[in-house]
């Protein structure tokens, strides 16, 4: 049976997941906070977040669905430190839950982690629950 969550309920539970996974205060978990720069997430924390989200919402998150990592490993997707049009298209297609407004102005590879904000996670979970 799929449990129905409002967006506020999803947000509240995602906030709890991030507080526990990253050891941050509730005040730090703003909607636009980035997981890496603002909340200090390291690579293993992304897997921790995935596992906690799976348990919290009773969902299955396939490898690369929430945090696609293979796109940046393709040399055709990067040129001079920027995402190529092909790479950017792939990234946008893989991350429908992320906001690309600022990123598209200068699609620097080094700024990819900034796509992963608290809102990105909430959007992903909402989409996932609606599709279930």
């Amino acid at each position: 049976m799929t449990t129905t969550f409002t967006r506020d309920e999803v947000y509240g539970r995602v906030e709890e997941v991030l507080i526990e996974a990253l050891g941050v205060d509730a005040d730090d978990v703003r909607k636009d906070a980035t997981l890496t720069t603002d909340l200090g997430a390291e690579s293993i924390d992304f897997l921790d977040i995935v596992f906690r989200l799976e348990q919290t919402f009773s969902i299955k998150i396939p490898k690369g669905e929430l945090f696609p990592d293979d796109i940046l490993n393709d040399a055709d997707n990067i040129a001079g430190g920027l995402m190529t049009p092909k790479g950017l298209a792939q990234l946008k297609s893989s991350l429908p839950h992320a906001d690309f407004t600022d990123f598209e102005k200068e699609p620097s590879v080094s700024k990819v982690p900034e796509l992963f904000t608290v809102s990105t996670i909430v959007n992903y979970v909402e989409n996932k629950l609606q599709a279930a």
Binding site: E20, A21, I44, D45, L47, D48, F51, E54, Q55, K63
Partner: protein, 163 residues
């Protein structure tokens, strides 16, 4: 001193949960060195005991194919500490596991009384991804760890804990 912080598995359910015990003795060096004159089991080594319990559980769940590396202490809290003569018991359970990593939840008991929790994350590192300078063979599940696993299998099969 050998880097092994559990004495014996008392329960092992593949892919699910396992329990190991550790008897704390005054002959152990860490009891003299941690707080000189006040022999207590360092909490960091209690965490290591849980990591070895849970790590073998995680490794076995995937056929000991990969090195299982402690990657993150998700939580560790204790309300008491062990002294010489005490027995620690580590109960570990796999919460999540896939080809990349595993998360475990664990409870620590002191002489059958719960004294805390240690929740961990492990990374799976297969041999092709091992960094240069590290051994080509599985360097986590060495003979001494495999003997622990084999002992509980033997106990389950024949009731004997002796090699």
């Amino acid at each position: 001193m050998r880097w092994i912080w559990i004495d014996r598995f008392t329960e092992f359910v593949s892919g699910s949960h396992g329990t190991a015990i550790k008897n704390v003795t005054l002959a152990e060096e860490q009891l003299a060195a941690h707080l000189p004159g006040y022999p207590v089991m360092p909490p960091s080594l209690v965490i290591e005991g849980m990591a070895q319990t849970a790590g073998i559980l995680v490794g076995e769940a995937r056929g000991f194919k990969e090195n299982v590396i402690l990657a993150k202490i998700r939580a560790a809290q204790f309300t008491d500490y062990a002294v010489p003569g005490d027995q620690l018991r580590y109960e570990a359970r796999i919460e999540s596991i896939d080809e990349r990593a595993a998360a475990t939840a664990g409870e620590v008991f002191l002489n059958d009384r719960s004294i805390g929790n240690v929740n961990l994350m492990f990374s799976h590192v297969n041999q092709s991804a091992v960094a240069s300078g590290l051994p080509a063979h599985n360097f986590v599940f060495t003979d001494q760890f495999m003997r622990l696993f084999e002992a509980i299998q033997r106990a389950d099969d024949s009731g004997s804990t002796k090699p």
